[in-house]
C-alpha cells in the first residue's frame, strides 16, 4: 500500500499542517517508507494476539470523584491573547 500526494495533502489539512509542494513530496516518501515497514510486519501471523492499546502492562488508576481544583481563571486568562466577560476570545468560527 502506498499513499498518493492527494492523500498526504488531505491528512495535512485535517491536522492543520501547511505543506509546500516540496514538503508534501518529502512527506509522501517518508510516509510510504513507514507504510512499507508496516506491510512487512503484517506478514507475521498475529491471530490470537490481543491488540495492544498501551505499551505498559498496567491498568488505569482512578481518582475519587471530588472537586479538588480551585478557580484560577484570573491566572489562566493572563496568558490569553484576548478575553472578555470571562470568555476566551477567538477568531469567529461557525460550523
Amino acid at each position: 500500500m502506498s499513499l498518493s500526494n492527494e492523500q498526504v495533502l488531505r491528512v495535512a489539512s485535517l491536522a492543520r499542517i501547511e505543506l509546500t509542494a516540496g514538503e508534501a513530496g518529502d512527506t509522501l516518501a517518508k510516509l510510504n517508507g513507514i507504510l512499507g515497514l508496516i506491510e512487512q510486519m503484517q506478514a507475521i501471523d498475529t491471530s490470537g494476539v490481543a491488540p495492544m492499546s498501551h505499551p505498559q502492562e498496567l491498568s488505569q488508576r482512578l481518582r475519587e470523584d471530588a472537586v479538588t481544583e480551585p478557580d484560577r481563571r484570573d491566572d489562566y486568562q493572563k496568558t490569553a491573547p484576548a478575553v472578555e466577560n470571562g470568555l476566551y476570545l477567538v477568531p469567529k468560527v461557525i460550523e
Binding site: L14, S53, Q56, S59, L62, E64, G86, Y88
Partner: protein, 489 residues
C-alpha cells in the same frame, strides 16, 4: 404511493451527562450555571504538560447503566482520541472510547402508544461509552470574535447508542423516554434537557419493506421529546418525497429548526469529519474487576421493569396501571409509600388516586410529584376513609382539595381534622337518609310521576335532589336502594 409503502428505520444516539461532582479527567467542578471559565482548570484548558486522571464516579455510573440494561460491562476497555479542530475543544481531540467501549449490548423494553392500542417492544443497544464533553462557543458579537466558555469541557458523558430498531417517531420517542426515565431512576444523570444533560441524535432512513437499509441522515442535538418527534416526522416525509420524486438521499448530518419545523443540511458525507481515532497514550486500559461489578450490583435499586411486574403480582394492578406508576422513580416511590400506609388491599384505589386526581392536580399546578403538597401518608388516610365509608368518593375529592391547600396540617391526621371541622362525614344512618328521601319525594311529585310512567331519567334527578339535600353526604348506594324501594321501582 403513500407513506405506508415505506418502512422507517431509526437509531438513536443519546448523550447523557453523568451526575458526578467533578469532571471525568480533572478535579474541576461540573456544577451548572457558574460564571464563564470559573470551572475550567489546567487539564480542561489543555495547558502544556497536563495529564488526564480518570474519575471513579464516572466509571461507576457507566457500570450501573450496563447492569440496568443487562449489557456486558467490559472487564477491559480503552480510551481513544477523536481528533478534530474547534475552538471549544482546546486539546484538538476529544477523549472518547472507540473499539472497546465500557458497555456492550443490552436491551430496553419500551411501551409505545397508550391504552389498548399500545404495544411492547424490545430495543437492542449497541454500546455505551464514556467520553468528555466539549466547551461552549458563543457567537454573539464580541467585535467579530467568538467567546469560548470551557466550564463544560471535560464534563463526563455516557454516549448510549441503539441499534436501528425503531420503526416510527413514536417508537423513537418511547425509547428516548424509557432511557430518560432509566438514567434518572438509577441516578446517573439528572435528565435535565433544558440544561443539555440529555441530548438526542437520530439516525433516520427509509426503505421498501424487505429492502436493504436506505441511506441515512443524522439529525443532531434534539433537546426535547417534542422536537425529536417533529424532526423525525419531517425528515421521514422529506426522504419519502425525495425518493418518490426520483431523487436520491445523500448521507448527511442535518439540524432541526424548531421555528420552521424543518431539517437542513449541516454537512454532507464528502466533508464529514475524519476523526482519525487512536488509543490515547495518556490513559491506560480501564479494568473493571468482577468484585467491583458485584458491589455495584448489590447497591442497585429495584429497576422499573421489576417493580412494574411486582405491582402486577403483589397488588393485582393492570399492566397499564403498573407501567404508569413506574414511569418515574419518584412516582413509584410515592405510590409505594401510599400503599404501605393504606394496606395492600387498597392498592387499586391508591393507584387510581395517584394516577387520577393527584396527577391532574400536579399537572394543573405545574408541580413534580416529589413536591406534592399532599403527602403519601395523607393520601393513604383519605383512601382509607373512603374505603371504610366515612367519606363518599365525591366528598373525598373535597377533602383532597382541602389537603392540597394545607388545611389541617401536614400529617395524615389532617384528613380526620378536615372531615370533623367541615362536617363531611358520610351519612350512612338509613333512618336519616329515609327522612331526607321522604322530604324530597314530597317536594318533587312531578319527577316521581314521570319515573312511575317509565322515565328512568327521572329517578336520577330525584337521586340528585337527595344528594343535594344531604349536601353530598348521603351514601349514594344507600340512597339508590332506599329510593327504589320507596318508589316501588
Amino acid at each position: 404511493m403513500s407513506r405506508n409503502d415505506w418502512e422507517v428505520v431509526i437509531g438513536l444516539e443519546v448523550h447523557a451527562q453523568l451526575t458526578t461532582a467533578s469532571k471525568i479527567f480533572s478535579g474541576a467542578s461540573t456544577a451548572f450555571g457558574a460564571e464563564p471559565n470559573r470551572q475550567a482548570c489546567a487539564v480542561d484548558l489543555a495547558l502544556p504538560g497536563v495529564l488526564p486522571v480518570l474519575n471513579r464516579g464516572a466509571v461507576e455510573r457507566a457500570i450501573r447503566f450496563g447492569l440496568a440494561i443487562g449489557a456486558t460491562v467490559a472487564p477491559r476497555s480503552v480510551f481513544a482520541r477523536k481528533n478534530y479542530f474547534y475552538p471549544d475543544l482546546p486539546k484538538g481531540y476529544q477523549i472518547s472510547q472507540f473499539e472497546l467501549p465500557v458497555v456492550q449490548g443490552g436491551t430496553i423494553t419500551i411501551r409505545v402508544g397508550e391504552g389498548e392500542k399500545s404495544y411492547e417492544k424490545r430495543v437492542n443497544l449497541t454500546r455505551a461509552h464514556l467520553e468528555e464533553d466539549a466547551g461552549k462557543s458563543l457567537h454573539e458579537d464580541f467585535h467579530g470574535m467568538s467567546g469560548i466558555d470551557l466550564n463544560r469541557a471535560g464534563t463526563p458523558l455516557l454516549e448510549i447508542v441503539s441499534e436501528p430498531d425503531m420503526r416510527s417517531s413514536a417508537e423513537a420517542v418511547a425509547y428516548a423516554r424509557a432511557l430518560h426515565a432509566l438514567v434518572r431512576w438509577i441516578e446517573i444523570c439528572d435528565g435535565n434537557m433544558q440544561e443539555g444533560s440529555f441530548r438526542c441524535d437520530a439516525n433516520v432512513s427509509v426503505r421498501r419493506p424487505g429492502a436493504p437499509l436506505g441511506t441515512r441522515r443524522e439529525i443532531k442535538n434534539l433537546n426535547s421529546f417534542r422536537f425529536l418527534q417533529q424532526a423525525i416526522d419531517y425528515e421521514v416525509q422529506w426522504q419519502i418525497d425525495t425518493l418518490e420524486d426520483g431523487g436520491t438521499i445523500r448521507q448527511a448530518t442535518v439540524l432541526f429548526d424548531p421555528d420552521t419545523g424543518e431539517t437542513r443540511v449541516m454537512r454532507t458525507k464528502e466533508d464529514a469529519h475524519d476523526y482519525r481515532y487512536f488509543p490515547d497514550p495518556d490513559l491506560l486500559p480501564l479494568e473493571i474487576p468482577a468484585e467491583w461489578l458485584e458491589r455495584v450490583a448489590g447497591e442497585m435499586p429495584e429497576l422499573p421493569a421489576a417493580m412494574r411486574q411486582r405491582f402486577i403480582d403483589e397488588f393485582a394492578l393492570s399492566d397499564y396501571d403498573a407501567a404508569t406508576l413506574t414511569a418515574s422513580r419518584e412516582m413509584a416511590a410515592y405510590f409505594q409509600s401510599t400503599v404501605d400506609a393504606a394496606g395492600m388491599a387498597l392498592a387499586k384505589p391508591c393507584a387510581n388516586w395517584v394516577m387520577g386526581d393527584l396527577a391532574a392536580r400536579l399537572n394543573k399546578a405545574g408541580l413534580e410529584i416529589a413536591d406534592a403538597p399532599v403527602g403519601p401518608q395523607q393520601l393513604a388516610r383519605l383512601v382509607t376513609r373512603i374505603a371504610d365509608n366515612t367519606l363518599s368518593n365525591n366528598i373525598g375529592k373535597k377533602v383532597f382539595e382541602a389537603l392540597w391547600n394545607g388545611d389541617g396540617g401536614p400529617s395524615a391526621d389532617a384528613v380526620d381534622t378536615i372531615i370533623e371541622t367541615q362536617g363531611l362525614k358520610q351519612v350512612t344512618d338509613s333512618g336519616a337518609i329515609e327522612s331526607i328521601i321522604d322530604e324530597v319525594i314530597a317536594a318533587n311529585q312531578k319527577s316521581v310521576e314521570e319515573f312511575r310512567s317509565g322515565k328512568e331519567k327521572a329517578f336520577n334527578a330525584i337521586v340528585g335532589q337527595v344528594m343535594k339535600a344531604s349536601r353530598g353526604k348521603a351514601n349514594p348506594a344507600q340512597v339508590n336502594e332506599i329510593l327504589r324501594r320507596k318508589l316501588g321501582g
